[in-house]
Amino acid sequence: MADIAHLIEPVIPALRRYARTFVRGAADADDLVQDTLERAISRWHQRRSDGDTRTWLFSILHNLAVNHLRRAARRGREVPLDDAGESDVGVPSTQEDALRRDDILGAVGQLPDDQRSVLLLVSIEDVSYAEAARILDIPIGTVMSRLARARERLLKLLEEQRKPASDRPHLRRVQ
């Protein structure tokens, strides 16, 4: 039993980071990670012995997160995006390096779920393209096309953010 904890524990910080950047909202994200850990502990025997623990944990978390977002969308409640760039309204920052944390995570929050998942796994979690395909249960070609679209789209969203408030469309998403 001790080796379960040994294999799972090192992955928890990354699971929290993925949950938080994928669904936003720290409390919901940690609930999803807790569900993931409980599921992993109770289904430990179902884990493929040749499989990678991290890939397995990420796939459990991703499925739970997608269901969570679907339920939230069905309930029609507003998904709280952090007030991305709200304090910067009307202050055009021209330097790309001045991207603030909330700016970029807020923009990522506006990507379609399937593009956001690939971008976060690959860019932040150092997951290979083949591993991302296994976690998301999609062909690797789909990983690549979603990654390419996510990057182009994020670029546009960030450009929109940098425009003065007067000539940019509303960024707040209400579901």
Partner: protein, 99 residues
């Protein structure tokens, strides 16, 4: 230079540091010759770095008690132990009834 043409996948692999060194230098040579594409790829690389920097503090936070694997495993063992009691009790009842 190998005969394999550079693909979009190679360009993303370049951004994500997932190419082997031979392919990486081929892509670099290609980018040196195509400044417009190189500029786009550099933007993706900056985007990637900004994302990583923005998300990094989350993984540094201390793990809260409800995500402590040892607590979760302990809680599960306890609930499993309890779930055996009613069954054990009914077995006892059956045994004593058949006497």
């Amino acid at each position: 230079m190998s005969s394999h043409p550079i693909t979009e996948d190679d360009l993303h692999g370049f951004v994500d540091h997932l190419l082997d060194s031979a392919r990486r230098s081929e892509v670099q040579t290609y980018l040196d010759a195509h400044p417009e594409i190189a500029a786009r790829i550099a933007t993706f690389s900056r985007q990637r770095e900004a994302l990583r920097a923005a998300a990094a503090p989350i993984a540094d936070e201390p793990i809260p008690p409800q995500l402590n694997v040892r607590h979760l495993m302990d809680g599960r063992r306890r609930s499993q132990a309890w779930s055996w009691r009613p069954m054990a009790a009914s077995v006892l009842l059956l045994v004593s009834a058949s006497d």
